[in-house]
């Protein structure tokens, strides 16, 4: 380990108790009416709130046995008779629900994924989940091109975009309910894994990122979802470190070095709107123009000493490198959530070492961490649940003291992941498969 040279910014402090306060407020009191536009994301937000407290090591303390059970009942209240979960109680017709109107209250892929995670966080054994129904439905949610959608229409048409977000959550549901077992489980056939991998490969872009769908622009969110999904189905690119044997499976990310280049390129010194103004008038000069040429101009005027230090794995005292932000697309401004969407695929690809975590951590703590706890999107922004959770998750990924170990692909603590893996009904499915595979090899 290199000698630590004290530099300004080392005082950057993770405000553990403030974050607990922020998330406890989200758990215990009504969210302000500004969240109305997120009414249909309530199951997702329920996950963020409980998982944040879990990462902070405060979930046990935050809930009485009665509250815990009450929340479990709430999640099951969102389960549909035909299987799968609705995303919010607002879609529920109660006793008036029937075969004619249930199309307006359909099972929802993100809600189902997050409902399963929420139940796990609350210590439920998922025994009341209509697991077989979900697996049947999951098959119907995959399109011929391999992608997954959000909901199913009455005529069987799949609604929602065909981007990797739904693929991520669908393969996540599959991983929770049947591990990575191939073939039928409980008489329900598997999704078409190869077709899904093909779909991801089709959305790779010329600069190495992954986009919404073929020919769309590379975007860190879609890249992250794709890489995590590949890990759920065990189709990550074969890793150069492990010098693995090639296998007969189709793997995602056809040009790993290019993808790593694209991910590393998301680090930026454009941290707020002021940074985007091209004061040097060297090229386009407008406030709307967001780019990194200014940082280049700034940096190249420095003597190389500080750069040399950072190259030799020393903490840098280079002022401009004090804070490094992360953007989601080329030539865009840094944003808290993209620290998550970029660091997750790096971590899942076993390459988190390609970024220097220290200045990213300082950026989050000094610039977007809020006085009342939580994180905002940009420096000075009020915290919101989405950015607050993803900022916290990055710090957990970086091993911040006081936060639990984090599983990047599943987006929750390793404790919670192990809990899912420990469930008896799941061990029976996953375990049996391992046994039968061994058996096949023996033959």
């Amino acid at each position: 380990m290199a000698t630590v040279v004290p530099v300004a910014g080392d005082e950057s402090k993770f405000q553990h108790s403030k974050h607990i306060n922020f998330w406890r407020r989200c758990l215990k009191t009504f969210l302000p009416h500004q969240y109305t536009s997120n009414d249909a994301n309530r199951m997702t937000f329920a996950f963020f709130i409980l998982s944040a407290l879990d990462l902070l090591g405060n979930l046990q303390a935050a809930l009485s046995a009665e509250e815990r059970q009450g929340h479990i009942e709430w999640v099951y209240h969102c389960q549909l008779p035909e299987g799968g979960f609705r995303a919010f109680p607002g879609a529920d017709f109660g006793s008036q629900r029937n075969d004619e109107n249930k199309i307006w209250d359909p099972a929802h892929i993100p809600a189902t994924f997050f409902a399963l995670l929420v139940l796990a966080l609350l210590g439920d054994d998922l025994q009341r989940v209509k697991r077989r129904e979900i697996l049947i439905w999951l098959n119907r949610m995959q399109r011929p091109d391999g992608s997954f959608g959000e909901t199913l229409r009455e005529d069987g048409r799949i609604e929602g975009g065909n981007d990797t977000r739904f693929g991520y959550m669908s393969t996540g549901i599959r991983w929770i309910l049947r591990g990575n077992v191939e073939g039928s489980v409980d008489g329900v056939p598997d999704i078409n894994v190869d077709k899904f991998v093909e779909c991801i490969r089709n959305s790779e872009t010329y600069d190495g990122g992954i986009s919404e769908t073929k020919f769309h622009e590379a975007h860190a969110g879609f890249t992250s979802c794709a890489v995590s999904a590949l890990s759920f189905i065990d189709r990550l690119p074969l890793h150069e470190k492990a010098s693995p044997q090639p296998d007969d499976y189709l793997h995602g990310i056809s040009n790993l070095p290019l993808t790593l280049h694209w991910l590393a390129s998301r680090q930026t010194l454009t941290l707020d709107e002021e940074d985007t103004i091209d004061k040097f008038a060297d090229e386009t000069d407008s406030a709307a123009t967001c780019h990194d040429s200014r940082s280049f101009v700034k940096l190249r005027s420095y003597p190389s000493k500080a750069g040399e230090l950072s190259f030799k794995w020393q903490p840098t005292s280079h002022f401009e490198l004090q804070w490094v932000g992360i953007n989601g697309r080329a030539n865009k401004i840094a944003d808290t959530c993209y620290a998550y969407w970029v660091c997750v695929p790096l971590k899942v690809l076993d390459h988190l070492e390609l970024v220097d975590q220290r200045p990213i951590r300082r950026w989050l703590l000094d610039k977007t961490q809020h006085l009342v706890g939580g994180f905002g999107k940009l420096p000075g922004d009020a915290p919101d649940i989405y950015h607050a959770y993803l900022g916290l998750a990055v710090l957990a990924m970086f091993g911040e003291p006081g936060l639990k170990d984090f599983d990047a692909a599943l987006c929750m603590s390793n404790d919670a992941k192990r809990y899912i893996e420990s469930l008896l009904w799941r061990r029976e499915i996953v375990g049996n498969e391992e046994v039968s595979k061994e058996g096949e090899r023996a033959i």
Binding site: H33, T36, N38, D39, A40, N41, R42, M43, F45, Q69, H71, W74, V75, H77, A87, P89, G90, D92, G94, Q96, E100, N101, I103, W104, D105, E150, R153, E159, G161, Y206, D207, G208, F215, H216, E217, H261, Q267, L269, E283, T284, T289, H291, S293, S295, F296, R300, S304, G307, F311, W313, H318, R329, A330, N331, K332, H351, E353, L354, V355, D356
Partner: protein, 320 residues
């Protein structure tokens, strides 16, 4: 002014269906306004009886304005529009300001596609997109929607579909205009890739085509050498054409040399040079030097990445 239904005679026949929040311990409960709670209660009531009527259109507009991410309200509205034989151009006229109020919403674009597809006409869409891009020239949904229009109405250069107003040649010109307006707009660069290559899947590209694209990207780089979008495009085209990366060596040398470190005008040029040198074993020393310059002086933000790339040289020079 909040809008209510309980005192509106046109809704007197409806028994509102209040929300059952699922017991005493709901999660992520929101302090709904009375207006939203009531409107949702009426929405549930009409959805529950599958009412297809003019007044439902008003109600769904109201809900969408407060909660555009409601995933079935859009589908319900689309069904009502078709059941009531509504004028779809009026729907587009309503969608325009609605999209401007909800720049980050996804559902709105899907709905718009459904309507435009039925109308079978893109008239007015180019103007609408221009208005949206004035708000945010990099709005992901808008660019995705434009790609959909180009495919739907066959607006690829040299692929027919010419109707005077909008055709493939005009699309390419428009894209160039967007890049001209902001050479660092990566969405515009990506759109160019789509416009020039999206209509020729499976075709081999001609040398003239490759030369035109390389020339275009190089001219943009000369204008702004420290712009990752144009460099990525250039390298993408070269890779697509299966040309060796060394084909770009002379061009990269215009912006960076290893001899005099004061003559580096672009870290992307240095990055490219490093890759060119890394591809040949006899120039690995030069590659190592380029990576070191990037890490220490020209792109220290990515020092660890460049160090990793330098380390790969020892393992056989695997690079992008």
């Amino acid at each position: 002014m909040p809008k209510y239904y309980h005192d509106d005679p046109r809704w007197a026949d409806i028994d509102a269906l209040p929300q059952d929040d699922g017991g005493p311990y709901p999660l992520a409960a929101i302090a709904y306004t009375d207006e939203y709670s009531e409107a949702m209660s009426y929405l549930r009531a009409v959805m529950a009886r599958n009412e297809m009527s003019e007044r439902v259109l008003e109600l769904t507009e109201h809900i969408i304005d407060m909660n555009p991410a409601h995933y079935t309200v859009w589908l319900y509205r689309a069904k009502v529009l078709s059941a009531t034989n509504s004028d779809l151009s009026r729907e587009i006229a309503w969608l325009n300001p609605t999209a401007l109020r909800h720049l980050k919403n996804y559902q709105i674009w899907h709905h718009r596609q459904t309507i435009i597809d039925k109308l079978d006409s893109h008239v007015g869409e180019a103007d609408f997109i221009a208005t949206m891009l004035e708000q945010d020239a990099k709005n992901y949904h808008v660019w995705s929607y434009r790609q959909w229009l180009v495919k739907r109405f066959a607006l690829f250069p040299g692929k027919g579909g010419a109707d005077g107003e909008w055709d493939g040649e005009k699309e390419l010109k428009w894209t160039e205009g967007m890049i001209e307006a902001d050479v660092r707009n990566n969405s515009a660069w990506n759109h160019r890739w789509f416009v020039v290559l999206g209509g020729r899947e499976g075709e081999t590209v001609s040398d003239d085509f490759i030369k035109r694209e390389i020339d275009y990207a190089q001219a943009a780089i000369r204008k702004a050498p420290q712009n990752q979008s144009s460099w990525n495009y250039l390298r993408g085209i070269v890779r697509h054409a299966k040309l060796p990366v060394s084909a770009l060596k002379d061009f990269a040398l215009e912006f960076a040399t290893l001899e005099s470190s004061d003559q580096v005008h672009s870290c992307h040029a240095l990055d490219l040079l490093a890759e060119i040198y890394a591809a040949e074993e006899n120039t690995w020393d030069e590659a190592a030097k380029a990576f070191e310059l990037l890490a220490t002086k020209y792109d220290p933000v990515r020092a660890q990445y460049w160090k990793y790339r330098q380390g790969l040289l020892r393992q056989g020079g695997v690079v992008a």
